[in-house]
């Protein structure tokens, strides 16, 4: 959560992605700026995950460009990555490390969010008390929340989330939705795919349906 | 340099001509391979396009 009031903008123009020489989507353009949510919908295999990976800069688009504040994200490289955080299908949580150690690592590799300690982050996802438990012993829902807690310890403006609500119970979903709405309310940005109807209060939402 | 001497290669006929035979095989294989590949691809694509035309 940034709260610095800085206005950032992620702009995609003419995006195209080909996977196993099947064109997933073509000529896709959108503009996402601070305080907005990009909601990707579409049936399985319509390229939602591929699009998110393009936004993370993990894959070169086969056509078109992605700009962060007007600069191509591939030119920026790590400078772009300081602004984003990604939680994919895989949690990215080391099972042999404790919850605390996992977050300590995530914090060290990204631009650390100095006004949220690891303890605060764990409290916000209701994992405080499990901090010294090896991630292996946490339930799938708890591991998912631990992965999402990573977002809180970094100073990322843009959260890129692939099905964040998988394996979360209703309590978990409520917690995570409040995190998202706080993030967006403080000028953060969200790019999320979800089959679950995301309630993010009055946040400005851009919907893109990839299966059309 | 009669024909017979030519093939005799001063007693090294076995080595010289086996080398050239292998060379011929390798070079011809390299030329033939793409041709066969192309033909196989065309057959594949043609069959696929016929099937698509039948469906549409």
């Amino acid at each position: 959560m940034t709260g610095t009031g800085a206005i950032f903008c992620l702009e995609a123009s003419g995006l195209g992605c080909v996977r196993d020489d099947r064109s997933l989507f073509e000529d896709l353009s959108f503009r996402l700026s601070s305080g907005q949510v990009l909601l990707l919908e579409g049936r399985n295999g319509s390229g939602k995950t591929s699009l998110l990976r393009l936004l993370c800069g993990m894959r070169q688009p086969d056509a078109g460009e992605i700009r962060w504040d007007g600069e191509d994200i591939f030119g920026l490289g790590p400078d772009y990555h300081t602004h984003i955080a990604y939680v994919g299908h895989k949690d990215g949580v080391k099972h042999d490390l404790t919850a605390f150690e996992n977050l300590k690592l995530a914090r060290g590799l990204a631009a650390p969010n100095l006004d949220t300690s690891i303890e605060d982050a764990l409290r916000q996802v209701e994992l405080w008390g499990f901090d010294d438990v090896a991630a292996r012993n946490l339930s799938a829902g708890q591991q998912r929340r631990l992965a999402l807690a990573r977002l809180l310890v970094t100073r990322a403006n843009l959260w890129i989330l692939d099905e964040p609500f998988t394996s979360l119970d209703s309590r978990g979903i409520a917690i995570v939705e409040t995190l998202f709405s706080n993030h967006v309310a403080h000028g953060g940005m969200l790019a999320v795919t979800s089959h679950h109807q995301v309630q993010l209060g009055d946040a400005e939402t851009i919907r893109i349906d990839l299966s059309s | 340099m009669t024909l017979q001497e030519f093939f005799h290669m001063g007693g090294y006929a076995v080595y010289v001509w086996s080398s050239y035979a292998i060379a011929l095989v390798v070079l011809v294989a390299n030329v033939v391979a793409p041709i066969l590949q192309r033909r196989k691809l065309f057959v594949q694509l043609a069959r696929r396009q016929r099937r698509e035309r039948r469906e549409s």
Binding site: T82, Y86, G108 | -
Partner: protein, 227 residues
């Protein structure tokens, strides 16, 4: 905006990998056992004549060390790839090559360096003279990091493949040949009392070259494998 410090991330990742290895320290013994086992196979195959063994010992030990290093390569990125941590490295605020360097150094400390503990024992097993054993240790100290560095490129290229291990050896072993030649010959020359400064300088050159270049290649390979 204080840019996240590079050395802190490097140290953090090194700490993480050493901690992970410590928590599974029984697995650290495997490359060592393999190293000893392969070395003991050769006398059973070649015969126990000490003179012959002494002559081929440097080559045997170094080939065994090379195979042990290569077999343990798979652990560099495999677990991170499966639980999604590798993706997090790709989008971290640090340049990927620095993180890769940290992981490879950790891998060397966990699997490469321990080979030095067992090497003298194998030297005695094959009746190597003292001068050779000390040289063996020096060449292993210089050579095993090179094996990890170059091997990391091969692992990064094959991390996405479900049967990557088979191809890994085909990609990596040819690149190990210079290290094997210089190191094994250094041990042999030391045994014969010949000077080995040339061998060691060449090994050091390989070490410097691979430490500076291979992280870049490994990072590029990871980005491609995960794209």
């Amino acid at each position: 905006m204080n840019t996240p410090s590079l050395s802190r991330a490097f140290a953090l990742l090194l700490w993480r990998d050493l901690l992970l290895a410590y928590r599974r320290r029984t697995e650290m013994i495997n490359p060592l056992l393999f190293f000893v086992l392969v070395t003991t196979l050769f006398p059973l195959g070649i015969g126990a004549d000490p003179a012959l063994l002494r002559q081929v010992a440097p080559g045997i030990i170094w080939v065994a060390a090379l195979l042990a290093a290569m077999l343990s390569l798979d652990s560099v990125f495999r677990s991170d790839f499966e639980d999604g941590s590798l993706e997090q490295f790709l989008i971290s605020a640090q340049p990927l090559s620095i993180l890769v360097l940290a992981k490879v150094v950790a891998h060397w400390l966990i699997t490469g360096l321990p080979l030095l503990i067992v090497a003298p024992l194998l030297g005695l097993l094959l009746d190597l003279p003292a001068a050779s054993i000390s040289t063996l240790l020096v060449t292993l100290a210089l050579g095993t990091p090179v094996l990890s560095m170059i091997g990391a490129i091969g692992v990064a290229l094959t991390v996405g493949l479900h049967r990557g291990g088979v191809i890994l050896s085909l990609l990596v072993l040819p690149l190990y040949i210079p290290v094997l030649i210089f190191a094994a010959n250094a041990v042999e020359s030391a045994g014969a009392g010949l000077p080995i400064v040339a061998h060691l300088s060449l090994l050091t050159a390989l070490l410097v070259l691979s430490t500076s270049l291979s992280p870049l290649a490994t990072a590029a390979a990871l980005k491609i494998s995960l794209s």
